[in-house]
């Protein structure tokens, strides 16, 4: 058991504004976990799998994932993380994106996404969603790293 290790949050979001808003609301919800922000898919994947501080080599994490990234599709990242052979397959992934297209939501769940949140333009709803995410973060069971 590695209880002392807190869950770090990996946010993959190309829009700086969105990232800032998400971070602010997460902090307002009282979550103080470490947040690592990446604006493109490649550097995020590199961190997830290869960085000494990354979740693959160093402790549990939660991934906040935007589907529209400049260099690759968010669903590809989701598929990589949730792949059977991936060391991160038990890492919870929260998809946060602008689409509320049913087909796309289903696709994300099929790929193993844990929560799907639509970024609403209505700010109150958005803040509400983030607060719920905070609740979610406080109740998730961090999987044991069995190797």
């Amino acid at each position: 058991m590695n209880d002392h290790r807190s869950v770090s949050i990996v946010m993959i979001e190309d829009d700086e504004g969105h990232a800032r808003l998400i971070e602010k609301n997460i902090r307002r919800a009282g979550i103080l976990n470490d947040i690592r922000h990446f604006t493109d898919g490649h550097s995020a994947l590199d961190f997830l799998y290869n960085s000494p501080q990354g979740p693959a080599l160093n402790g549990p994490a939660l991934v906040l994932l935007d589907l529209n990234l400049p260099d690759m599709s968010g669903t590809d990242i989701l598929a990589r993380i949730k792949d059977e052979s991936s060391p991160l397959k038990r890492t919870p992934v929260v998809v946060l994106t602008t689409t509320d297209d049913k087909v796309e939501i289903q696709r994300c769940y099929d790929l193993g996404c844990n929560v799907y949140i639509t970024k609403p333009v209505n700010y109150e709803n958005f803040a509400q969603a983030i607060r719920q995410l905070g609740l979610f973060l406080s109740v998730i069971q961090v999987p044991e790293v069995d190797g």
């Binding site: 829009d15 504004g17 969105h18 333009v121 700010y123 109150e124 958005f126």
Partner: protein
């Protein structure tokens, strides 16, 4: 190029047809000519035969007369020489046949004046002769033989007889001449007949040859044209397939474009909205600070700072919010349209009576609220189409009708349908406020509305309806006048063929 060759074939065909008609008429004329000439020639031949016969009869009659005259003379002479009663009887017999023979001759040549004159001379001479003969014979009867012989020598009977012979010979000769002339005539008729027949035959032959040539050329043209047509047909299918795939590709491109645009437009909007909320929250703090400062140290609060915190900032934030919300609604509309374009259509048999009935039930509350009635002219024709799309089309149209009623007139919305060939026509007619004809095309455009903007809406409904109708392979139009209601007419294929079906 295709058109030009068609025109060429048509022109050629018309010319050929005209030529054939002319040739046929010419052939008929030639035949008619030949027949007329043949009939004429046959008539003439019959006449000729008659006249040849006539000539022989005349000759026969002349010969009969001469023979009788000679026999009578011979018998008289015999009687004078040898007064045997046998000669006397012979003479009587011959003399008696003279007059009838002359009569027959006269009847035969009654049409020929010179001959008639000759016969009259003959008749005179015969009368004189008969008289002299009778005298001589009477002398013989009285046994005055020497007187009789003297009378025979002295009277002019021999002269008369000679003249009569000459006349008869002339007549026979004249008749021969006539016959020769008629022969010549007949020959010329035959010649004419043969010439005309020859010409007619040549003409017919020409017609046949020309017709055959024309027909052959025409058939060759037709074959060539049909070959070209087959070619065109084949290439047409290719062209259609090509265009269809082009269109499909273009359509998919537009859908993707709309989707990406609306998506990417939304992302910055989230920021605008989010940070506006942050600003709003910050403004609250600033306002509280101003309030507190006003109470604690009024002299440091300038009028500008107070106005900015209490009025300018909330107003600006309010405008930003409403604009953003409106923009979000518009983007959602585009997203909805583009999503509708990507939805897979599932054709099924639709009981339109039930479907429209359900729409009516759903809208019943609004109908009651606005005092309008919905009349469904049952039975509506059944169609095979996508249920959701049809439901959305008709719901939108009926909803619009309920929305835009003419104030002061009880609303009446009629839905009717009929089959027209392989298409089904549905009409939604109302007695509402109508649409200005100049706006008829505009109302189907996205975000465009017509008339007084007194009803909520973004100008999406009809654009959505039109997109759906197009997707179902249909067309939609509107007939309306301002203030006199509107009628939306949709023409849909009775059976929806989806692109997947086409490819099978």
């Amino acid at each position: 190029m295709v058109r030009a060759s068609n025109v060429f074939v048509g022109d050629r065909g018309r010319r050929t047809r005209r030529l054939l008609i002319a040739l046929t008429i010419f052939g008929f004329l030639s035949l008619t000519c030949a027949v007329i000439i043949a009939a004429w020639a046959i008539g003439r031949t019959r006449d000729y035969t008659y006249w040849v016969n006539h000539t022989y009869q005349v000759e026969q009659a002349i010969a009969d007369f001469r023979v009788a005259a000679e026999r009578a003379e011979t018998a008289r002479r015999g009687y004078i020489i040898n007064a045997q009663p046998q000669f006397r009887a012979n003479y009587e017999q011959a003399a008696a046949s003279l007059a009838p023979a002359l009569d027959r001759l006269a009847a035969l040549i009654s049409d020929n004046r010179s001959e008639v004159a000759r016969v009259a001379t003959l008749r005179n001479d015969l009368a004189g002769l008969q008289q002299q003969r009778a005298q001589t014979l009477a002398l013989v009867d009285a046994n005055r033989m020497s007187d009789a012989i003297r009378a025979f020598r002295e009277d002019g009977s021999r002269v008369l007889m000679a003249r009569m012979r000459a006349i008869a010979q002339d007549m026979a000769l004249a008749e021969r001449t006539l016959l020769a002339q008629r022969d010549a005539d007949q020959q010329s008729i035959f010649l004419t007949f043969e010439t005309v027949l020859g010409i007619a035959a040549a003409a017919l032959l020409l017609v046949i040859v020309l017709t055959a040539m024309t027909m052959l050329r025409y058939i060759r043209d037709l074959n060539a044209a049909s070959g070209r047509l087959t070619e065109l047909n084949e290439s047409l299918e290719e062209v259609v397939a090509e265009r269809t795939s082009d269109l499909t590709r273009a359509n998919e491109e537009i859908q993707r474009f709309a989707y990406i645009v609306s998506h990417d437009l939304r992302a910055p909007l989230v920021n605008v909205m989010g940070f506006t909320a942050e600003l709003d929250a910050a403004t609250h703090n600033v306002r509280e600070l101003i309030d507190r400062a006003e109470q604690a140290a009024p002299d440091i609060v300038t009028e500008e700072a107070r106005l900015a915190a209490r009025e300018d900032l909330p107003e600006a934030i309010g405008f930003i919010r409403t604009s953003t919300q409106k923009m979000d609604a518009l983007i959602n509309a585009i997203l909805k349209l583009s999503r509708e374009g990507r939805r897979v259509l599932t054709p099924e048999r639709l009981d339109m009576d039930a479907l429209v009935g359900q729409i009516g039930d759903t809208l019943q509350h609004r109908l009651d609220e606005r005092g309008a009635e919905l009349v469904i002219e049952r039975p509506l024709p059944e169609i095979v189409s996508d249920r959701l799309a049809i439901d959305q089309i008709l719901s939108n149209l009926i909803e619009n009708a309920v929305k835009y009623l003419q104030p002061g007139r009880p609303g009446r919305i009629v839905v009717r349908g009929r089959i027209d060939g392989i298409r089904a026509i549905f009409e939604v007619e109302d007695n509402g406020r109508g649409i200005d004809p100049k706006d008829h095309a505009r109302v189907f455009d996205l975000f465009r509305r017509s008339g007084a903007q007194d009803q909520p809406g973004e100008g999406i409904g009809l654009a959505h309806v039109r997109a759906l109708v197009y997707r179902l392979g249909g067309i939609i139009d509107v007939a309306s006048e301002l203030g006199n209601g509107a009628m939306f007419r949709i023409s849909l294929p009775q059976t929806l063929m989806t692109a997947q079906d086409d490819r099978k």
